[in-house]
Symmetry: C2
Subunit: 138 residues, 2 copies
């Protein structure tokens, strides 16, 4: 069963992301664009069921705060973690990872990007194992 509920009550869903670095429909709302003073941006990201991003890394790290649904987070060489509302993920600089929705659930998280002065995210290849992962975590 598809869980259609997403937590749009707190932060807006924003605009559909047009990027080759995402698979499936995803939406982005910038809450804080980031500036040279704090060097920190904040966005709300929403994934439809099955949507996820490609492997990538952030030179200044990233923090995720899950606000609704069920999703996955994985660092290269480590097991997949299931994420639920209220979970927080601390991603160290340069660590290759991906995140996205479960196959049967919408998923939304706040993405906090500190240390923007260290440069933009480095985007890599799609997650080959996604279908297999969704089978294992049904």
């Amino acid at each position: 069963m598809i869980n259609q509920s997403i937590n749009s009550e707190i932060f807006p869903k924003g605009e559909k992301i047009k990027s080759e670095n995402f698979i499936g429909a995803t939406w982005l709302k910038m809450l804080i664009p980031g500036d040279t003073d704090t060097g920190c941006s904040v966005a709300n990201v929403t994934f439809e069921p099955g949507a996820r991003n490609n492997w990538h890394s952030h030179p200044g790290g990233q923090i995720l705060l899950v606000t609704s649904g069920k999703g996955y987070y994985q660092e290269e060489g480590k097991p997949v973690q299931i994420l639920h509302m209220g979970d927080a993920v601390n991603i160290q600089s340069g660590v290759k990872h991906w995140h996205g929705a479960a196959a049967d659930s919408w998923f939304a998280h706040i993405a906090i990007s500190p240390n923007l002065q260290k440069g933009p995210a480095e985007w890599l290849e799609p997650v080959k194992e996604y279908e297999e992962i969704t089978q294992n975590f049904k």
Copy 2:
């Protein structure tokens, strides 16, 4: 009427804050303690109606994401701003400010503290005008 609802569904309320820098009952849940890699901590802060912090500043700035209730934010020399669920506040480094609940509402926000390597918050005097403010914004 006191609005008793607080958004405890997403992030835990945590422990009561014991600090002379807060007036009224407030609660803190650290979601990301911060580390030397990202230099960024994230906490959930909940204020009972009428609770607020003293004037203070952050050497590395701070970002607030309002998750429930109604509150106030003020920078020194500027008008008070009313905050509601979904509002985001970008506080520049060293800017003297305070935040807290309205007199008739609970208030909760995520507090993102980047650039922790720049040092801890500088705590200053209590907000003398709070009672007057709550009269003006009834």
